[in-house]
């Protein structure tokens, strides 16, 4: 493992008086796949959303590639362009074709020539197995297809880190596999990934490290083998006994 690409120190987040994250410390190394698991309401999605500042932390520090996100001089949009995100509800742009969904940000933000952006978008669509859908509109696609387009859209920015926020939770069971397959492929190619999920099979098979969160704390973390076969904490054991 190389040096950390994400460093999180004492990260706190409160919504009013409701404290969701309580001084969390974590690091993610380059090319590492970190899977975050935990019961709903444990703060794992908020944790993920703080990494690209979709939620503004109330305390602590997040450093991505040596740049502190809390530093006023750091360009937030610049950081976000380098950190891809995939949402539970896909959040594709319904008024744009699949192709335009993918090319919009590279053209507007990376200033890529249109032809180049399209070429790359088609490549990405091929990679996620949707070459024939380029000119369709998102609402006409199935959930699994939409989520794969969403992954392609994020990848088009050539991010250094990909964040996945329960990417399969809104999918019908038969579509979960196609999305996980794309994610597995990405992991194999060496993408740095932070994945919040309830897919324990994916965590075990693809994760380099698994973090278990509960009530705003990181309770335990380790390799999938350690965490799943030999959990140290009572709360981890109790959670795993319910989901495995």
């Amino acid at each position: 493992m190389t040096s950390p690409i994400i460093e999180i120190k004492g990260l706190s987040k409160a919504f009013g008086s409701n404290v969701v994250l309580k001084k969390i410390d974590a690091t993610v190394s380059s090319q590492e796949v970190v899977v975050v698991i935990g019961p709903s309401g444990s703060g794992k999605s908020t944790f993920l959303r703080c990494i690209n500042l979709l939620e503004a932390p109330t305390g602590g520090e997040i450093i991505i590639e040596g740049q502190s996100l809390m530093d006023k001089k750091t360009s937030i949009t610049g950081i976000r362009a380098d950190v891809g995100m995939v949402f539970q509800q896909f959040n594709l742009f319904p008024h744009l074709t699949v192709l335009d969904n993918i090319t919009l940000a590279p053209i507007q933000i990376r200033k890529l020539p249109v032809a180049k952006a399209r070429e790359k978008a088609l490549e990405l669509l091929k990679k996620v197995g949707l070459s024939d859908k380029a000119n369709m509109y998102p609402p006409s696609l199935s959930g699994g297809q939409q989520q794969r387009v969403a992954i392609a859209r994020a990848l088009a920015m050539e991010p250094k880190i990909m964040l996945f926020d329960e990417p399969t939770s809104a999918l019908d069971p038969e579509m979960v596999g196609e999305v996980l397959a794309v994610m597995k492929q990405l992991a194999k190619e060496g993408m740095t990934m932070v994945v919040v999920t309830h897919e324990m099979g994916f965590a075990r098979e693809v994760g380099d490290r698994v973090i278990f969160m509960e009530s705003g704390y990181i309770v335990e973390q380790g390799s999938p083998a350690q965490l799943f076969e030999n959990p140290q904490q009572e709360r981890t054991k109790s959670f795993l006994s319910k989901v495995l």
Binding site: R80, D82, V83, N91, A105, I109, A150
Partner: protein, 215 residues
Amino acid sequence: MDFKFDIIWGYLPLFWKGTLYTILISLSGVALGSILGLFVGFGKMSRRWYLRWPMQSYINFFRGTPLLVQIYMVHFGLMPLILGKTNSIAAAITALSLNAAAYTAEIYRAGIQSIDKGQTEAAHSLGMTHFQTMRFIILPQAIRRMIPAFGNEFIVLVKDSSLTALITAPEIMYWAGVMKGQYIRIWEPYLTAAFIYFILTYSLSKLLNWIERKA
């Protein structure tokens, strides 16, 4: 009842002129009002209280007081202050624009806030600025949803522009009043005016239906 078509015929050129002024006044009102309403609407949505509070007051005032009162205040108060004299057409356009701004501001706000928050988050996550998110993601979707409400506002404005006859703006109702005074007849002038207004609003609603289907 005898209905004298010949006196209507005689007034047609004036009604035609009046129709053009009605169109000018209401079209300018909706156009300027939409631009002004954009600022009022975004001001009201602002997180900064010193923008939000005045814009909220603006909307409350113009929606909570009669248009006729606003027209009189603009005509007899505001215009002499700005121009040094009264000008009925300028006053009519100004009053309708200020009034329409309050209503269109709410149309903008409702349209923008009806777009799912996930759209903004997705745009932000790709590195888009607030402006890019509005320009490429939110507004194209929101405007489509605003079209019916805008059409409605436009139709209301065409009808409400008739109030400006009271400050002698030479639009349809003004000439209907002149005609009534000349011949001391009720039905010919007012039915003619009603007929013209109806043609205007009916074609407008057909046009809007067509735009809605296209968008």
